[in-house]
């Protein structure tokens, strides 16, 4: 429970909250990038260097950019004039709160069973690479296949149909 952890948690939660509450869609996207960055830093705090940098590379470098692209392509960058929340926002919020209540309750319930501070595991990129191409090679291949399929799928879905004027 270091001060760094609290600052980073605050940053992440703040970014997340901003992402779901701000009016301007682009601001939401930028806020979610902040949340992603906060999470990446939390990973670093957890000695997961590789995952943290991958998080930055993929979420800030790719997903956030993708989101802003989508926003601009759907002309969503202007601040909407009418309500930004759906008609049933109250129910949604209540359910989200309930989820947090249940999860938090579960964590606090089991806090006595949680392991305490352990020594930081010394994990090198080399080990991760070996694991990726050794024990986890099948998931790796499947993920590769999935990414290829997603690439093709996304292109097919978003492509202009022939004859349709741009």
């Amino acid at each position: 429970m270091t001060i760094v952890f609290w600052i980073l948690s605050f940053l992440t939660v703040l970014g997340g909250l901003a992402a779901v509450t701000l009016r301007n869609t682009v601001h939401c996207a930028l806020a979610v990038a902040v949340a992603f960055a906060g999470l990446a830093l939390l990973y670093l705090q957890l000695d997961a260097q590789f995952a943290g940098f991958a998080q930055i590379l993929i979420y800030i470098g790719a997903v956030a950019i993708l989101v802003v692209f989508a926003i601009l392509l759907t002309r969503g960058s202007d601040t909407p004039t009418d309500g930004i929340f759906s008609r049933t926002w109250f129910a949604g919020t209540a359910i989200a709160a309930a989820v947090f209540a249940v999860l938090g309750w579960a964590v606090i319930q089991s806090v006595h069973a949680l392991p305490h501070e352990t020594a930081a595991p010394a994990v090198t990129v080399n080990q991760i690479g070996n694991a990726l191409l050794g024990r986890y090679v099948l998931p790796l291949e499947i993920v590769a296949l999935l990414l290829t399929a997603a690439l093709v799928g996304a292109v097919m879905v978003a492509m202009h149909e022939k004859g349709e004027s741009k």
Partner: protein, 697 residues
Amino acid sequence: MQEGMGFTQQLTASSIAQVLWLIPAVPMVASGVIALLKQPRRKLASALAIGSLGFSLLLALFAFGHVVAGWSQGFSVRETVNFTWMQMGTGTVDLGWVLDPLSAVMLVMVTFVGLLIFIYSTGYMAHDENYTRFFCFLSLFAGAMLGVVISNSLLLLFMCWELVGLTSYLLIGFWYQKPSAAAAAKKAFLTTRVGDIFFLLGIVWLFAQTGTLLLYNNGAGSIEPDALIGLLAAHAGWGLSAAGAIALLIFAGAAGKSGQFPLHVWLPDAMEGPTPVSALIHAATMVAAGVYLVARVYPLMAAGGTLSQAGEVAGSTTAALTVVTWVGAGTAVFAALIAVAQNDIKRILAYSTVSQLGYMMAGLGMGGVAVGMFHLITHAFFKALLFMGAGSVIHGCHEEQDIRRMGGLRKEMPVTFATYAIGMLALSGFPLLFSGFWSKDAILESALHWHPSSGPFYLLAFGAMLTAFYMTRQVCYVFFGKYRGHGHAHESPRVMTMPLAILAFFAIALGILGTPAWPWFRAFLEGHAAALEMGKFGEPEFWSLLAISATVVFLGLFLGWWLYDSKSPQAEEPDALEKVAPPVWGWLRDRLYVDEFYVVTVIAFYAWWARVADWLDRRVWGGAVAAVTGAFRALAHFDRFFDTQFVDGTFDKGCEELYSGGGLLARVQNGRVQTYLRLLAVAVVMLAAILIWSSAR
């Protein structure tokens, strides 16, 4: 197999035999590739077809060389490669191929003549818009025909046989826009099918009797001595053994394909196809398949006669061979007679082909495999030559086929004339110089020695005279006199005349292989050493036969020349022969009314039977169906009445209730993703709460 000559049989398959399947496979694959090509890729299509067949020729030459090498070392090569195609219960159906002198000779002939005709076709079909389709079919045909040749299994042979029939159908109907071509294709297909039914029956019977369709299989094949003994022991009725009956059935198939007498009607009509097709399929190769088939199953044909191991008849004959002989001899004369009175250049050749096929059959029936096969090979060369020459003439005369509208082409088309004349003399059997003489002489010789009857000899000799006569008539009409057609005749391009020249060379040279003094061909096929005995030429037997055949041929030539050239016929004038004997001429011109006979008998019978079936359909079965239908309709009316009056009232009410209930339920399924997500989240929360609560207690 001649005992005491040191010949043994070699059975293990060499590497060339292992890859023998490539010979038919390569043209077939080429055909498939060509089928995918677009029309404008003409060059590529013909190059593929010619290249693939050239490759096959190369392989065939290797195979031939292998067999010759084995033979010269004292082996009678017969290498088979067999494999199981499918397993049916305890029995298996085996397929395989065989490399022996017979198949090797046929392979070389088919690929060589085929290649020349392919090359010729590039010139002949140059302006046809369906050029690639033509080469696709031609390649497919070549593959199928080569498949027939190498088959060691009657089943595989039958498959390729049918494929050959199909390509023949496709190629006869190549110009399907012409109604006559379409009709001719249909006729060819259906007529040969009649023979094929018998063939198939024979195959099935053979399989039932011997349990295998392999021809040779190290002593376990269906035409090897062990099986033949069993076949001879089984009786089929009418005094025939099973072997004889099966042989006759198979001969029926061969007769259909080779245009023997009752089934010959399709072959002249098949001339509606392009000329290279006529040359390749309907003169040199496919029609010879029937003859080849008889030669292939010769042990079966000859079973029961005094049978030596190599399947050669020595002395006595069998029922099957007798039938083959008589049908062959009859066809030979019959078709030659008709050919005398035809005016279409290709039709004359077609009847001539039928006639010559009759010779081959008769040769097989009386003289054994070597005699018939030798005529087959020589005939393939000079008949292909004649057809291609005819094609060249037709090409040169602007697609004119009527010989009365030609004439004097000797000067305009010197190469065609020279080669055509060689072909014509070879066909007529001009003594000593041409291959046709030697092969025909061998047939006549065996006929002379055939002791059951001397009828075939006279028939064949008469046929030879007629052959010389009608060929002279044709040549006179086409090449002598003065030009009676329209336009100006011209010589064909080199790509067409070159194959002619090559074939002409072989039409002369092939005779060397089968002279009485050096019967290399016979020795090769029958598997004993060939010896050069010039003394044979000095024997009186040879001279007497030569005298007879020469007389016959010169008589024919002289008659033809006297009747036709000296008169320098005119197009509108009646034929010279017509003036002599108009009624005979009329019968001959109308092809002795065989087609008409079929129309009033077979076809009329079928038409009547079709009408009966139609009537039965309409009245008997139709009436029964109508009665049942009526009963059900009455029942249905009653049912509807019941439904509308009693059931619907209550059912409609129930439906309304269900509908409104569905509307209530549908409000959950409102198409809003977030509603679903919300329900999901609520469910998760409840589930998690229950789990935690239950575990915490």
